[in-house]
Symmetry: C2
Subunit: 157 residues, 2 copies
Amino acid sequence: MPHGNGMGPRWWHRRFRGCGYRMTVPRQAILDVLSKTSRHLSAEDVFMAVHKVYHHVGLTTVYRTLELLVQMGLVSKFDFGDGRARYELLEGSKDSGHHHHLICTKCGRIIDYTDFIDEEIKLLKETEKGLSKKYKFKITNHLIQFYGLCDKCKDKR
Amino acid sequence: MPHGNGMGPRWWHRRFRGCGYRMTVPRQAILDVLSKTSRHLSAEDVFMAVHKVYHHVGLTTVYRTLELLVQMGLVSKFDFGDGRARYELLEGSKDSGHHHHLICTKCGRIIDYTDFIDEEIKLLKETEKGLSKKYKFKITNHLIQFYGLCDKCKDKR
DNA sequence: TTGGTAATGGAAACCATTATCAATAAGGAG
DNA sequence: CTCCTTATTGATAATGGTTTCCATTACCAA
Ligand SMILES: [Mn+2]
Ligand SMILES: [Mn+2]
Ligand SMILES: [Zn+2]
Ligand SMILES: [Zn+2]
């Protein structure tokens, strides 16, 4: 499900320059790949996709760039328990684009959902307030994942 | 914070035998270590603790046993993002003992909390209901972690 | 166009976890 | 208690995702 939000090469370029980074061919290519999928790609997935177009881009650069993008807040990094990190371009600036995951423990399918985010955010606020008071802990982020069986795996066997 | 709930060597022995497994010295030792701490130990942590008493127990066995305990439902396995799995004995049988985590992104401190579990469970139920309907997804488990700064790290710098 | 330096990529290192396999020992039968 | 079956163990090697190294390349401000 390729998206066509307002972001693109020009925007990224500005963003990079604004942070004092250079916009390079590998970085551009990696962002292109990420922006053209709604799947949760591993570093190697990204590498293979980029490699089809730019044979010279190395896996090391993919790792480095993904880490940079995460650090810049453009990309989220997840661990779904399959032994490799998975990356996903954050759409929209700031908090829009934030979502949670349903993970099928049988086939590994990942489902993004945003439907109930509002209620979860409310819970988050309350929890944050309570925990801040009790543990003097300043919450800056959260991770919520549900595990179970997807429709395809639920029935058979 | 060593706990003294109703479980112990005898109980574990029955549990193992009930599953058709043998109760061995390494397994006993690993359970002892896990039951005497409230920290979230890595496999190597467990190995080192066990090694002090039983020099002959190998790291491989620690990994194998921890995996077995997870699979038996006696131990939870977590990923706090530091590149190694962390294990924790589940106290109480069944769902009691279930809790969530506050993770300090600066010093790595982990705080268990159960205070707001009830509200989260309520949210979970609602979410589960909604998601089941919309995505035909059967939720069996969930992971909720809050990231931020602990009281010690919040202030300085 | 050029120079300073950030960025790159191939290879090697790293490191948590897993696979191998011969030796060991738990525990049921007798 | 002893024997026997076989689950379990542990030293070692292998695996595989991620990082580190470092000489080379190429952004981009001047
Ligand atoms: Mn997602
Ligand atoms: Mn815990
Ligand atoms: Zn599935
Ligand atoms: Zn801290």
